[in-house]
């Protein structure tokens, strides 16, 4: 766009953004709180693309409608992907529960049900300490060289150790097999 947008053009953009955002909210069954965010996202996108607007090819309203339709499709795709990952009905952990004296939805979840646990991170501090003691006891049953190899394998894989000249590949695999059996006998299962 060669000239700054007029007040009328701005009204057109605001109107188009508002209509598109409401359509998207209704289609995706998002909460009313999301309306302002979606509207802003659509508006920012169309403003960023205004330099490409050519009045000879159509009206500003039509241009804004196409840009916002594309943007809305991307927003819808993102929302659907998040729902596939985290569940069909998006809810906020900070949402206050009715008749709960200020308790939020997040207060109902234990650490074991949290995002850390979902991604496989340890959440039980006592279990973590016990596992560490088990690992140390298991390492104590190993030959010192094998214990050092175990520590090295926590940072590198076999290929990297071979490249660094630790030992021959067959020798390393033989030692890893022995380490696995020793740790199994110490009560440690493979992860």
């Amino acid at each position: 766009m060669q000239s700054p947008i007029s007040r009328a053009d701005l009204q057109t953009l605001l109107h188009e953004a508002d209509a598109a955002a409401r359509r998207l909210i209704r289609k995706l069954r998002l909460s009313k709180d999301d309306l302002a965010d979606v509207r802003q996202e659509l508006l920012v996108d169309v403003i960023a693309r205004l330099p490409a607007f050519d009045p000879k090819r159509g009206s500003l309203g039509a241009f804004a409608g196409i840009v916002m339709a594309n943007r809305a499709a991307r927003v819808a795709h993102k929302v659907k992907r998040e729902r596939r990952l985290y569940g069909a009905v998006p809810t906020s952990l900070d949402e206050t529960l009715p008749d709960s004296d200020g308790a939020t939805r997040g207060d109902l979840f234990s650490e074991g049900e949290g995002l850390s646990a979902y991604f496989g991170q340890p959440v039980d501090a006592f279990a973590e300490v016990e596992r560490r003691l088990d690992v140390e006891r298991g390492l104590g049953t190993l030959d010192p060289d094998d214990a050092r190899l175990s520590a090295a394998l926590s940072q590198s894989n076999i290929d990297e150790l071979v490249d660094r000249g630790h030992a021959a590949r067959s020798s390393l695999y033989r030692r890893v097999k022995n380490i696995r059996l020793a740790l199994l006998a110490a009560g440690l299962k493979a992860a």
Binding site: E136, R137, T141, A147, R148, A151, S154, Q155, L184, G187
Partner: protein, 113 residues
Amino acid sequence: MISTVTKLPNARRRIDETDLCGWIGQAAPGEALEYYRGFLALDTFSQAQRLTERERAELVRVARRAWWASEQKLIHLVQRRHGADDYSYLAIARSTPKQASASLSSLLLAEVA
């Protein structure tokens, strides 16, 4: 006194090294496992030809692993005589050593350094 001895399942007469290690890892103190029935000294001797070479090699591994576990104070090794050249070789689980004998932090620090 041994309260119960875990016998080998009929369908699979011999346990391998992994089975033995798995049992040691989960056994409660006092539990016993018959990890071999026969005459170990003879059956592991290559010229005796009482087992196939493959079975003999696995038995050697099991016997060595049992000895290693005994040295690590994880099990007691005992045997029960049934008749001529016929013994049950038993592993009896011991209580787990309480003190850690290798520091994970030291090993990791040494690796990083």
